[in-house]
C-alpha cells in the first residue's frame, strides 16, 4: 500500500530498525560527533533512532524527495528548531511597501 514497486517485508516496530547501531556509528564518524558521557551517548542514540523513524515517516509523506540521516539526526525537533531555525513568528508587516504587479505573459 506504501509503494507501487517495493513491498515491505519487515515489521514497522522500532526494535526492527535494521542496524541502528551501525547507522549511528556511521553518523558519528561522518559528522565528527563525540559525546562527553555514556549517558549523553545513550540519550543521543535514542534520539537518533527516533529520527530514523521520523525520516521514514517523512519519506512516506514526501515521496518525491529523499529523506534519511542528516547532520541533524541526533537532535530532537525542539533542539533543531532552537539551534538552526530563527525566523520570528510574524507575518509580513501590513505597512510594508508592496511590489508592483509585473506582467507575466511573454
Amino acid at each position: 500500500e506504501d509503494d507501487l514497486l517495493i513491498r515491505q517485508v519487515v515489521p514497522d516496530a522500532e526494535e526492527h530498525l535494521l542496524n541502528a547501531e551501525h547507522h549511528f556509528s556511521a553518523f558519528k564518524a561522518k559528522f565528527g560527533r563525540t559525546y562527553a558521557t555514556q549517558e549523553e551517548h545513550d540519550h543521543r542514540f535514542r534520539i537518533f533512532k527516533n529520527n530514523l523513524l521520523r525520516a521514514k515517516s517523512h519519506q512516506k509523506l514526501d515521496p518525491s524527495a529523499v529523506h534519511g540521516v542528516t547532520k541533524f539526526s541526533d537532535l530532537t525537533p525542539a533542539e533543531f528548531r532552537r539551534q538552526f531555525l530563527g525566523l520570528k513568528p510574524l507575518l509580513l508587516p501590513t505597512d510594508a511597501q508592496k511590489a508592483p504587479i509585473l506582467p507575466t505573459n511573454d
Binding site: P63, A65, F72, P93, A96
Partner: protein
C-alpha cells in the same frame, strides 16, 4: 517568463554559507537577497556580512511589540532590510566575518560599506508574481516551514501535508519546469532554494520544493530588495 531559471547560472549567488548553531537564518536570507540585488545593480558579486546584522540589527516591527531582530535568537528579513536602509548598508563578509555568536559589540564601520539598500517590498502570494519578481529583481528572501528539512537529503520535496507556520528564512534563487515525481507519476515544477546549513546538507546546500500549492508556506512571506551602487 522562462520555463527554467536559476540565478546561480548568472553569477548572482555567493557560495553556500553555514549559520552554525545560531538562529540567524533571517540574516543569511536577507544578506543573500542583497548580494543578488547588488550584483544586478553593479555587476559585481560581493559576499556581505551576516554578522553585522547579528551584532548590530535590533530593529523592531512597529506593529508587533517584542518582534525585534535579535541575533541568534531570531529575526525577520524585512526588518533586516529596514536596518540596512537606516544604517547605510552592509560591510563585506571579509571585513566583518561571521562567528555564529551573538551578544558581541557592534563593529560596524560606515566607511567600509560595500552594498546599500535602495528600497525593499513584499511580493504578493501569487506564484507567477513571485517568479516574475525573482527574474526581474534577483533572488528573493522567503520564509518557510522547515519541518521536512531536518531529514531532507535530496530530490524535490513535495509533502502531502506540511504546516504553513513559518520558522526558517531562506533564499529563493530559481525554479525549474519539472522533475520526476515517482509516486505521483508526473513532472512537477519546483523552486530552488539556497539554505544556510553548509554544503554538506541537502543538494550541496540547496533545497528543492514543489511549486503550485504554497507548500510549507513558501509563497506566503516573500520580499525583494533593490540595491544602490556605493563602492
Amino acid at each position: 517568463l522562462p520555463s527554467d531559471f536559476d540565478w546561480r547560472d548568472h553569477g548572482a549567488v555567493t557560495g553556500v554559507k553555514n549559520q552554525g548553531s545560531c538562529g540567524s537564518c533571517w540574516s543569511f536570507s536577507a544578506v543573500g537577497a542583497l548580494e543578488g540585488a547588488h550584483f544586478l545593480s553593479t555587476g559585481e558579486l560581493v559576499s556581505l556580512s551576516e554578522q553585522q546584522l547579528v551584532d548590530c540589527d535590533h530593529e523592531c516591527d512597529p506593529e508587533e511589540r517584542g518582534a525585534c531582530d535579535s541575533g541568534c535568537n531570531g529575526g525577520l528579513m524585512t526588518t533586516a532590510f529596514e536596518y540596512s536602509l537606516k544604517a547605510g548598508g552592509l560591510m563585506r563578509e571579509n571585513d566583518y566575518p561571521y562567528t555564529g555568536r551573538d551578544r558581541g559589540p557592534c563593529k560596524f564601520d560606515k566607511s567600509k560599506i560595500a552594498a546599500s539598500v535602495a528600497n525593499f517590498s513584499v511580493v504578493s502570494l501569487d506564484e507567477e508574481q513571485i517568479a516574475a519578481n525573482l527574474v526581474k529583481n534577483g533572488p528573493l528572501a522567503v520564509g518557510i516551514n522547515a519541518v521536512f528539512m531536518q531529514t531532507y537529503i535530496g530530490g524535490v520535496s513535495c509533502p502531502y501535508i506540511c504546516g504553513k507556520h513559518l520558522d526558517h528564512g531562506v533564499l529563493l534563487v530559481g525554479y525549474g519546469a519539472g522533475a520526476y515525481a515517482p509516486i505521483r507519476l508526473k513532472e512537477k515544477p519546483f523552486w530552488i532554494i539556497k539554505n544556510s546549513w553548509g554544503e554538506s546538507w541537502g543538494e550541496n546546500g540547496y533545497y528543492k520544493i514543489c511549486r503550485g500549492h504554497n507548500v510549507c508556506g513558501v509563497d506566503s512571506m516573500v520580499s525583494t530588495v533593490a540595491a544602490i551602487h556605493t563602492s
